[in-house]
């Protein structure tokens, strides 16, 4: 950051407090450089001469600046094995806890919402086939949902470009994709057929209830865009969509603590996740 865009310790603290209250995003001093870089980008984009003038714009949400800054934090782009630390947590810790309690006759249900063009639910399928040895012992049902039916069509087609595959090891690409040429790859039918896609609006109570209950829900980087009313309805819906003891994975900057007291925080070596308590308190 230049001198003009420098953020004092006090200003950084005010900014973090504001973002937490308005979006539920949490940033600590350890993320200061990450935050400052994005604030600096937005200051340049908005022609703000000082942090104070930019902060004034942000707090009044002039021209939708809160959404613009959130976009800068979340990298509005999806690709395979994004935030793979959560996938590690899934195979190493979460599923181990779930299968201890569940009957092997019942499928393990995983929901990716919103799933955009399918990279996340397909990543979950591939990750489990590659990294979870008991995968053959259980039936695993993966559902991808989004409010946008156009992205669901693209997800079902299962054709991806080079950028979407950039974090996948070559052997994984070779094993699960067919090269179409022109930097396009199509997922094998077996993988495409293993994920069911269906539209959902997260704040629709009967609409979400229709999906039943899941062992694990991935709901990353969407609640931060909701207003307070929608966020609390969505949080209750997600809770209702979890089996007792089921897990909710949010984006790495997100926190449920500001939104709802319903969930318990669980800290694992690879990720922090939220759990529906086993027994109603």
């Amino acid at each position: 950051m230049t001198n003009e865009t420098a953020v004092s310790v006090e200003d950084f603290s005010r900014l973090c407090e504001f973002l937490y209250r308005r979006t539920g995003m949490i940033f600590t001093e350890a993320k200061r450089y990450y935050v400052e870089r994005r604030v600096s980008e937005r200051m340049r984009a908005t022609g703000s001469q000082s942090f104070n003038s930019y902060f004034a714009r942000l707090r009044t949400d002039s021209l939708g600046e809160i959404e613009q800054l959130v976009n800068a934090f979340t990298v509005n782009e999806t690709y395979f094995y994004r935030e793979s630390h959560q996938l590690r947590c899934l195979s190493k810790d979460l599923l181990a806890e779930r299968v201890k309690r569940a009957s092997p006759a019942k499928p393990i249900r995983i929901w990716s919402v919103p799933c955009s063009t399918g990279e996340e639910p397909y990543s979950i399928a591939i990750w489990l086939l590659q990294n979870w040895p008991p995968v053959d012992t259980f039936e695993i049902e993966i559902i991808g949902s989004d409010i946008d039916t156009r992205v669901l069509e693209a997800a079902r087609a299962g054709v991806f470009g080079k950028r979407a595959l950039m974090h996948l090891p070559t052997d994984v690409i070779d094993k699960y994709f067919v090269a179409l040429g022109d930097n396009q790859w199509r997922l094998l039918d077996d993988i495409r057929d293993s994920v069911h896609f269906a539209p959902v609006n997260l704040i629709d109570v009967p609409g979400t209830a229709a999906f039943g209950q899941f062992d694990v829900i991935f709901c990353r980087n969407v609640l931060i865009y909701f207003d307070d009313a929608s966020r609390r309805v969505a949080a209750e819906n997600l809770y209702a969509n979890l089996l007792p003891g089921g897990f909710l994975c949010l984006g790495h900057t997100e926190s449920m603590s500001r939104i709802s007291p319903l969930f318990e925080v669980r800290r694992y070596s690879d990720a922090i996740v939220y759990q529906r308590p086993e027994v109603t308190p």
Partner: protein, 206 residues
């Protein structure tokens, strides 16, 4: 391939048949589901309001508040406001969060709440004003600074003005600090607020 696909999502569990009754007599989980079911229609407000008077389970209370927010009518607001006057801090906090989440419907009653006979209600309402656009919030809080008799309420108003107020608040802040010159913390809060406003914001209204 162990990963299976189902082409239809499972049927939703059936909703309680008489949610208003279940909200009175059911188990905690049943009451939670009933509270959520009542949020789908404006007719649910009366039952939700009744339940707020007696419900002790924090999870069910949250669901009641969320349903009132979903309905989002003036009746919902009227159902929540009495909870601002209770001694139970958790219930009060839940009410404040619910009102904040439906601030558009709450807006018409804010002047009355800021003039409420109960100073605690006036103080809590200052925080709700934080959700309004700058010019609107500044006008309401300047009125508070001009007439409020409780220093603590003024401090709450000053705190919000420091964050979202504009330069129109400066004379009101100065006058308030002078009126409460015997309360040093208020003077300090006013000084900080004025510095922030001068540094950040132009006048956004006349």
């Amino acid at each position: 391939m162990p990963i299976i696909r189902r082409n239809s999502v499972p049927a939703a569990p059936s909703e309680p048949r008489r949610p208003a009754e279940i909200l009175r007599v059911g188990t905690a989980d049943e009451r939670w589901n009933a509270a959520r079911a009542l949020g789908s229609s404006a007719d649910g407000v009366a039952a939700l309001q009744d339940a707020l008077r007696t419900e002790a389970d924090p999870k069910v209370r949250e669901a009641i508040f969320t349903s009132l927010v979903r309905i989002g009518s003036p009746d919902s607001v009227a159902a929540v406001i009495p909870c601002l006057r209770v001694d139970d801090a958790q219930l009060r906090g839940g009410a404040l969060d619910a009102l904040r989440a439906m601030i558009g419907v709450v807006r018409p009653v804010l002047p009355a709440l800021l003039a409420d006979a109960d100073a605690d209600v006036r103080l809590l309402t200052c925080d709700l004003v934080r959700e309004l656009p700058t010019a609107d919030a500044t006008r309401l809080l300047c009125d508070v600074l001009a007439r409020e008799t409780e220093a603590n309420v003024c401090i709450a108003a000053v705190d919000v003005l420091a964050e979202i107020g504009d330069a129109a608040a400066l004379p009101y802040l100065e006058n308030c600090a002078a009126r409460f010159h015997q309360v040093p913390f208020l003077g300090f809060a006013v000084q900080i607020a004025m510095q922030q406003i001068v540094a950040e914001r132009p006048v956004l209204h006349d």
